[in-house]
Symmetry: D2
Subunit: 349 residues, 4 copies
C-alpha cells in the first residue's frame, strides 16, 4: 500500500516565505504526507489567509512551535529565525530527519559564526549543496542537514568550476542582484512595495553580509594552496524572487584560457548534475527562467582585455535557494531519487 | 508498459507564450509524450534560447507549422494567430484531438465573429470551460475543442453563480486588470517594459474588445428571460501574468440578497469544482495566489448602499486562462482524470 | 526684494509619503521658504536617510509635532494620521494657512464621518478640488483647507462632466487601480514588495472604503434631482504611484448620446482648467504620463450595446492626489498664480 | 525683455526616450524656447500620442529630420541612432550649439571606435561630463558636445576619486544594474514587459559592451602610470529608469586606506559639484532617490578581508545619464548657470 510508505513531515515556520515554499513543493511530492504546521505569532490562525496560494492546506490551523507538536514526525523542516533551531533539534529523536532552512548549522568555523552572527556557535551539520564537489555523500542518509543560504548557493556553484579547474586566482568578486523575498516576510519599511518598485539598491557592502563567510567556506577547498578572498555585494532589485550573481576573478597567471575552454570546463563539471544547466554559448542566465524551479542556470566567458573570467548564475532564491534545496536534501536523506518532486522547468514569462 | 499508453502530442506555435505554457504543463503531465514542436518565423531554431525556462526541451528544433509535421499525433495543440486553425484542423484526421488556444472556434454567432474579428466565421467547437453549467459533457471525448479567452474565463466564472441564482439583473460591468503576457510575445512599442512598468492603462474601452461577445455568449444562458449586456473594460497593469476581474451588477429588483446569501450561492455553485476556490468571507482574490496554477479564486459581496452585487475573480491568464484550460480539456477529451498534471497551488510570493 | 515676500512654511509629518511629496514640490516653488519639519516617532532624526531623494534638505533635523514648533509660520501643511489635525489647527492663529492632507475635515455629513471613520466629526473645511464646479471660489484666500482623498480626486473629476451635462443616471460604478504609496509608509506585511510585485488585488470591496462617501459628496450636487449611488472598488496594482479610475454609468434614459457628444462635453467642462487634460479621441489615460505631475488625464466614450458611458481618469496619487493638490490650494489661499511651482509634465517612461 | 534672450532650440529624435527626456527638461528651463521637433518614421505625426506625458507639446507635429528643418536654431539636440549625427552637424553653422546624445563623437581613439561600433570614426567632440577632472573648461562656450553614455557617466564618477587619490590599482570591476529605458524605444521581444518584469539578466558580458572603452577613456587619465583595465558587466533589472553601478578595485599595494579615508576622499573630490552627492556613512545609493533628477548619489567603503575598495553610484540613466547631462552641457555652452532648469530632487517613492 502506497500510503504506508509515505514519510510524515512537519514544517516549523509555516507562515513565512521559506516555510511556504517548502510546503508548495511538498504538496507536489509523491513520498510525503504533510503533518503538523507550526508558527510563532501566527499560531492558532488558519493557513488560508496567510498563504492563500496553498489551496489544499487552506483550512489547516497553525500550531505553536513546540517539541510536543513537532515530535512524532519522520521529517521536520525548520524555517525559523536564526538561533531557534538547536534547542528543537536536540529534543527530537536522533533518527528524525531535521532539515534547517536557517543559518545556525551552516558554518564550520565558530569564529566566523561569532563574527557575523554573534552568540555561541550551535554546531555544524551536513551542508545541503550536493552539487559542490564532495558534498553529496554526507547528505545520503543524513539526519541533520543545514540548507545553504541563497546567495552562497548561486555564488558557489557559479565559481566552483573555475576554481576547481585552476582557471582563476582565488580573488573573487561577486555582485548578486536579489528579489525581495530573500529578506523575509517581516514588515519593514525599506521592504515596502513603494520602496522597492522602480528601485535598485546596494546593502551589506564591504564584506559585512553574513553570507560572505559561507561562500568562502564553500570555495576554499577548491582553491588548492590559494587563499580565497571574496568581495561580495548584494543588491536588491524590483522582483519578488530570483538571484542573478555576476562573478569574476583574475585569470590564473599561467593560464591561456579562452572562453571556449572555460565553457567546456563548466559543462564537464556539471555534466552529471540534474539541476545545473550550463547554457549554450551566447545565452546568458536570467532569473525568470528558473522561477519556481530547482534549476541553476550558468554561463561563463573570458574577458581577455580585463584579464578576468566572468561567470553568471541564476537561481530562484526561494526554490533552489531554500525550499527546493531542502526537498532535494530530503530525497537524499531518505534514499529517494534526488529529483523526486522537483523540476527544472521554470515559470516564465 | 507505461510508455505505450502515453498520448503523443504536438504543439503548433511553440515559441509563443501560449505554446510555451502548454509545454510547461505538458512536461509535468504523466500521460503524454511531447512530439513535434512547430513555429512560424522561428522554424529551424532551437527551442532553448526561445523558451529558456523549458530546460528539458532546450535542444529541440522547431519545425514549420505544416500538416505533414503535425500529422501522426494523438493530440495537436494549436497556439497560432487568429485565422490559421481551420485549415490545419480540417486536414487532420477526425479522431485526432485538436485543441485550439486561439479564437477561431469560440463564438457561436457568425455575426458576432464578423463584427469583432472580421472575415468569415470558421465554425464553433466544444467550448473548453467545463465549470460553466452544461459545458463539461460536451468536452468528454471531444475531438475539437476551443480554449476560451483569458478574460472570458475569469469574467464568466465570476458572474455565473449570481446570474444563475437570479441574484442580479443581467446588466453587467466588468473591469479586468491583466498582466502583459495576455498581449502575446510579438514586439510592440506599447508593450515594452519601459512602457508598462510603473504604469496602469485602459484599452479597448467601450465594448470594442473582442472578448466582449464571448462573455455575453457564456452568460446569456444563465440569465433566464433577461438580455445580458456587458460593459467590459480591460486594463493593463505592471505584471507578466494574472487577471483580476472586478464584476458587478444591480441586485435583482425583487431580491433581498445579503453578502452571506451571495457567498453561499457561490460556494454551492462551485462545490464540486476542483479548480474553483471561493475564498472564505473577508478574503479577497489576488493574482499572485494563482500564478502558474489552474485555480480560479473568487469572492463576492453585496453593496447595499449602491444596490449592487460585487464579485472579484483571479486567474493566471496563461495557466487557467490558456494553457491550463487546454490541458484540462485534454484530460476530458482523453477520458483521463480532469485534474491530471494540473495544480491548484500557486507560485507566491 | 523677492526674498522678503516668501511665505514661511512648516510641514508636519515630513517623514511620510504625503509630507515628502509636499516637500518635493515646495523645493521647486518660488514663493515659499521651508521652515520647520516635524515628525512623530522619527523626531530627532536627520531627514537625509528618511527621504534620500530630497537632497537639499538632507541635513535637516526633524522636530516633534507640537504647536510650539509649528507656530510662527505663514503656512502649515499637515500630513498626519487621521484625528490629529483638529487640535493643532485650533491652536494655530486664524490667519495661518492650514492645509490638511488628512481626512479629518473633508466630509460635510457628520453621520457619514462617524460611519466610515468612527469618533466625533471634527468639522468641514474648504474642499481642495478647485476643478469641481463651484469649489474654487471658497479656496481663494482660505485659511483652512482640506486636501481631497486621492481616489475621490480622480473619480470625481472623471465623472463630473457626465453628471453635470445630464448624460448619465447617477448610478455610478468606479473601479480604481492604485499604486501602493497611497497606503502610506507604515510597515505592513501585505504591502511588502514581495506581496505586491507581480500581484493585483482588490480590497475594501462593497462600499466599505472610506473614500466612498467623499465621492458621493462631490458628485451629488451635479446630479440634479437624482440620488447619487457609488459602487467603488479599489485595486492594488504593482506600481508605487498612480491611480487609474475606470468609471461608468447607465446612459440617461432620454439621451441619445454618442461618443463624440460625450467627448465634447468633457472638453467643454474642462476647457479653462490648467491641470485637466482631456485626451484626443482614440487615446486613453495611463498613469505613467502623469507621474510627478499635477495633471489629470481623461477620456470618455459611449458603449451603445451596454447602454453605458465609460470614462477613465489618471492621476498621480501623491501629486495631484495629495501633495500637488496641497500646493495648488496654497497658491489659491495666498492669491498666487494657481499653477505656480506645479507642472503638467509627467516623468515617463 | 526676457523673451528676446531665450535661445531657440530644436530636438531631432523627439519621439524616442532620449529626445523625450530632453524635452521634459527643456519645458522646465527658463532660458529656452522649443522650436522644431523632428523624427524619422514618426515624422508627420502629432507628438501627443507618442509622448503623452509632455502635455504642453501635445499638439506639436513632428517634422522630418532634415537640415532645412533644423537650421535656424541656436541649439540643436541630436537624439538619433548611431551614425546619423556627423552629416547633420557638418551642415549646421559653426556657431550653432550641437549637443549629441548619441555615441558618434564620444571616443577619442579611432581604433576603439571601429572595434566596438564598426565603420569609420566620425571624430571627437567636447565630452559632456564636467564632473570629471579637467573636463568642464572644454565645455564652456563649446559648440559641439558629445553627451556621455549612461553607464560611463555613473561608472566613471563612482571610480574617479579612488583612482585620482591613488587608493586603488587600476584593475576595475563594474557591475551595473540598469532599467530598461536605456535600451531605447524600438520594439524588441527581449525588452517586452512580459520578459523584463520579475526578471534580472546579464548581457554584453566579457568586455563586449560598447560602453567599455568609454569608461576606460574617462579613467585612464586619473590612473597615473597604471594601465586601466575595466571588467564591465551590465545587468537588466525590472524598472524603467535608473542605473546602480557597483564598482570595486584592489587596494593600492602601499596603501592602508580605511573606509573613513575613502569616504573623505570622495567628499573632497566632489565638494564643489552641485550634482554629485556623497551620502553620509552608512547610507547606500538607490536609484529611486535620483529618478528624474540630475543628481549622482555615491557611497564608498573598504573591504579589508577582500583587499578591495567598493563604491556604489546611482543615476537616472535618462536624466543625468542622458537628457540632464545634455541640458547641463547646454548651460555650459551658453554661459548660463550650470544648474539652470535642473534639480537634485528625485521622484520617490
Amino acid at each position: 500500500m502506497r500510503m504506508t510508505t509515505k514519510s510524515r513531515v512537519a514544517v516549523a515556520g509555516a507562515s513565512g516565505y521559506a516555510g511556504g515554499e517548502v510546503l508548495r513543493l511538498l504538496l507536489a511530492h509523491p513520498a510525503v504526507e504533510i503533518g503538523a504546521l507550526t508558527a510563532g505569532s501566527n499560531a492558532g490562525e488558519t493557513l488560508g489567509p496567510l498563504q492563500p496560494h496553498l489551496v489544499p492546506l487552506a483550512d489547516r490551523v497553525l500550531e505553536p512551535t513546540t517539541i510536543e507538536v513537532l515530535a512524532g514526525h519522520d521529517v521536520v523542516f525548520l524555517a525559523l529565525p536564526h538561533g531557534q533551531s538547536a534547542v528543537i533539534a536536540e529534543a527530537l529523536d536522533d533518527d528524525v530527519v531535521v532539515i534547517d532552512c536557517g543559518a545556525d548549522f551552516r558554518l564550520e568555523d565558530p569564529a566566523a559564526w561569532e563574527r557575523f552572527y554573534g552568540g555561541p556557535h550551535a554546531g555544524t551539520w551536513a551542508y545541503g549543496l550536493p552539487e559542490l564537489p564532495g558534498r553529496r555523500e554526507a547528505l545520503r542518509g543524513a539526519r541533520r542537514i543545514a540548507v545553504p543560504g541563497c546567495y552562497p548557493t548561486v555564488s558557489s556553484l557559479t565559481l566552483a568550476p573555475a576554481l576547481a579547474a585552476g582557471l582563476v586566482e582565488p580573488d573573487l568578486v561577486v555582485v548578486a542582484a536579489s528579489g525581495t523575498s530573500g529578506a523575509g516576510k517581516a514588515a519593514k519599511t525599506h521592504l515596502l512595495g513603494s520602496e522597492v518598485m522602480g528601485n535598485a539598491s546596494a546593502y551589506g557592502v564591504g564584506g559585512v553580509h553574513r553570507h560572505t563567510p559561507e561562500i568562502t567556506q564553500n570555495l576554499q577547498p577548491l582553491a588548492g594552496d590559494g587563499v580565497v578572498r571574496v568581495s561580495f555585494t548584494p543588491l536588491l532589485v524590483p522582483m519578488s524572487r530570483g538571484i542573478l550573481a555576476t562573478c569574476s576573478a583574475p585569470l590564473a597567471a599561467s593560464a591561456t584560457t579562452t572562453a571556449d575552454d572555460a565553457h567546456a570546463a563548466y559543462v564537464e563539471a556539471y555534466a552529471d548534475e540534474p539541476f545545473v544547466h550550463v547554457l549554450p554559448p551566447g545565452s546568458w542566465p536570467q532569473t525568470q527562467s528558473v522561477l519556481g524551479s530547482n534549476a541553476v542556470h550558468l554561463q561563463v566567458t573570458v574577458d581577455e582585455a580585463a584579464g578576468r573570467l566572468v561567470a553568471v548564475g541564476a537561481v530562484d532564491n526561494l526554490a533552489k535557494g531554500t525550499g527546493g534545496a531542502a526537498v532535494q536534501c530530503l530525497n537524499l536523506a531518505l534514499g529517494l531519487e534526488e529529483t523526486l518532486g522537483l523540476t527544472t522547468v521554470g515559470l516564465a514569462p
